[in-house]
């Protein structure tokens, strides 16, 4: 059937709420408002205010309550409107969700799922355009995933709920309206492996979430220059599927990593470092990075576009590597 990313996430939520009565959705305006991006529209009417639970503006309390509820046997899906606001709950995620299992010597696992929107591109300026998923990918004890396709939007949630440990799901705000075909029986997908979204011989472009589409578009343009690019979608940002990434680079001998985060200290830096560590002697050129400019996101459209990684930047970076 034809569907949107938004509908795919909603279908995944409905499915989870239907299948397991330990599952509930909690967050700001997930209920009566229908979700700030209309993702959970209709779920309150369907499952009631107990399981589709509007929370006050208390990010650290309701994320922490999600951790506690997970400890208490529930399977909470906590929605933090955007990654920007998740900084207010970071202490709970880092110091509790990620560490309780280890600090308790294996006694207390935290089967929690936290969903949040990430990324820029809608002229929301400096406080609403961050991409901090790379920070979360730094933290042992949590799994981080970034669905970039309809299949993953539909299928990653259930797998995340089956994980005994915390899983953070990052949905790029620019994806909700993308439309496409989704099999009627689409269901759970793995959250372990990266995926080759486009096979190619000459160059590997690594991307995820909101930048996958740009990477694929760049790959298409590169054919005009006789460059056959392979596009790898990370899918899971922690733990990184190094094998798939390195496997691709050992075939193509060149790599460009695309990341909407600021360049310095980006997730792209980690991917670049790993490729160099594991495929140094297979590389014909240094690993390239296409990231956001190091500036708080400006509101003005032309400045925001200039600050973000664009298809042209990926194409240029790819050509720079020659080959």
């Amino acid at each position: 059937m034809t569907t949107t990313y938004r509908e795919a996430v909603r279908a995944a939520l409905r499915d989870a709420l239907t299948r397991d009565d330990r599952v509930f959705l909690m967050g700001e305006d997930v209920g009566r408002y229908g979700g700030c991006f209309a993702v959970s529209l209709g779920l309150l009417e369907e499952f009631g205010p107990d399981r589709v639970r509007d929370a006050p503006l208390s990010e650290s309390a309701f994320v922490g309550a999600g951790i506690g509820a997970a400890l208490g046997g529930m399977r909470p899906i906590v929605e933090v409107m955007t990654v920007n606001f998740s900084l207010l709950a970071l202490d709970q995620i880092v110091n509790n969700a990620a560490t309780l299992l280890h600090m308790s010597g294996g006694q207390f696992n935290v089967p929690l799922v936290v969903r949040m929107t990430t990324g820029a591109g809608r002229q929301l300026a400096a406080q609403h355009s961050h991409s901090f998923e790379g920070w979360y990918a730094h933290v042992p004890g949590i799994r981080v995933v970034a669905p970039a396709t309809l299949e993953d939007a539909r299928g990653m949630l259930w797998t995340a709920l089956c994980d005994p440990d915390p899983v953070l799901v990052f949905e790029h705000g620019s994806l909700y309206n993308i439309e496409g075909e989704l099999a009627d029986d689409a269901g759970a997908v793995d959250i372990d492996r990266a995926a080759v979204r486009r096979p190619g011989r000459d160059l590997t472009v690594v991307a995820y979430g909101g930048t996958l589409g740009k990477a694929l578009a760049a790959a298409d343009q590169l054919t005009a220059d006789g460059i056959d690019a392979e596009v790898v979608d990370l899918r899971t940002l922690r733990p990184l599927d190094t094998a798939t990434i390195v496997g691709s680079v050992t075939r193509t001998h060149r790599a460009v990593v695309v990341d909407e985060g600021w360049r310095t200290g980006s997730l792209a830096a980690e991917v670049s470092a790993r490729i160099t560590e594991e495929a140094f002697y297979d590389l014909d050129a240094p690993v390239g990075r296409v990231c956001s400019a190091e500036v708080p996101m400006p509101y003005a459209r032309h400045l925001e576009e200039a600050a973000l990684p664009q298809v042209a930047d990926i194409v240029a970076a790819a050509k720079e590597l020659g080959g």
């Binding site: 305006d29 009566r32 408002y33 208390s58 920007n84 300026a125 003005a300």
Partner: protein, 323 residues
């Protein structure tokens, strides 16, 4: 309470400027000249106008993302605000901030903060600086009732009370935080009472009656300026339109909105002035014409503004001159 004609007309004009300004914003947003999030102040004009009238030029103001009204009432030129929303260099923030991030050094207007509760600690710090430097200045801090649930509100209320800081806390209680009604966000909905729990004098004010707001603000400012420590005003108001430009408004009834519209702050003051014989039809018409002329010029000027050169993208990340 009696109202001096000149003051009455001034308050009316200021509220009218905001109302008409916001209506222009709607047009420009529909024409996609304004982008990003746009939060209108329509219905709440009496709050900003009443409070700003009680402040001195050397006082400081901290606002939220719903900040057009505060900026206009504080004396920030309509053209600079409009230019900001059109992303122009002539804008209050050179087009880098947009609607949610208006700033103005000359009037000590410290923004325009899009993290709910995020501006509150800043206000305490501005007040601390005044206190430590022996300046008899007041910092007015605006925030919505939804922010009361945030930890930053709590920490700052206690800090301001503990250190006796000259902050005027202006809680704009419009009954909703996006789609979340006050009663679904606060266990105790008497916000003035909540504030007194911190040892901060607080009283509720009819936020639809600009004269009542002006009077309450005057008394509060005197107390704060004279070293009485912080004061908290709960300004009971209502937002006539959606939270942001578009929202389903499934969280409140048309009747409720209708009821509040009958207490439109501009209509209320108009009646009052008419009754006092202080305002005639032609006075009102003239006022509308003056405001329209101001806004025509503002829009035209903003449109004629220039765009920041893309080469300057990373300016203002760090200071260009040492202070």
């Amino acid at each position: 309470m009696t109202v001096e004609r000149a003051e009455g007309l001034h308050l009316l004009r200021e509220m009218l400027r905001i109302r008409r300004f916001e209506e222009r914003c709607v047009e420009l947003y529909s024409a996609t000249e304004i982008r990003g999030f746009l939060h209108l102040y329509i219905g709440e004009e009496a709050v900003a106008v009443g409070v700003m009238g009680a402040l001195a030029p050397e006082d400081a103001v901290v606002a939220t993302y719903r900040d057009h009204g505060h900026a206009l009432a504080r004396g920030v030129p309509a053209e600079a605000i409009m230019a900001e929303m059109l992303g122009k260099v002539e804008g209050t923030s050179r087009g880098r901030g947009g609607s949610m991030h208006l700033f103005d050094r000359s009037s000590r207007f410290y923004g325009g903060n899009a993290i709910v509760g995020g501006g509150i600690p800043l206000a305490a710090g501005l007040a601390l600086a005044d206190a430590m430097q022996g300046r008899r200045q007041v910092t007015a801090c605006f925030f919505g009732e939804g922010a009361v649930a945030e930890g930053e509100f709590h920490e700052t209320m206690n800090l301001a009370a503990l250190w006796h800081l000259p902050v005027l806390f202006c809680c704009e209680n419009n009954l909703y935080a996006m789609g979340t009604a006050l009663a679904r966000s606060e266990a105790v909905t008497d916000l003035a009472m909540r504030a007194t729990g911190y040892g901060v004098p607080a009283w509720p004010v009819d936020g639809m009656d600009v004269l009542a707001v002006a009077d309450a603000a005057r008394r509060a400012v005197v107390q704060v300026r004279d070293g009485g420590g912080p004061v908290f005003l709960e300004l009971r108001t209502y937002r006539f339109r959606a939270h942001s430009m578009y929202d389903p408004e499934r969280y409140r009834s048309k009747d409720e909105v209708e009821l509040w519209r009958r207490r439109d702050p501009i209509a209320l003051l108009t009646e009052r002035l008419r009754a006092d014989g202080a305002l005639g039809d032609d006075d009102l018409a003239a006022m509308e014409d003056e405001v329209a002329a101001e806004l025509d010029a503002a829009v035209a000027g903003a449109r004629a503004g220039t765009l920041e050169p893309v080469e300057d993208l990373t300016r203002f990340v760090t200071s260009e001159v040492t202070t």
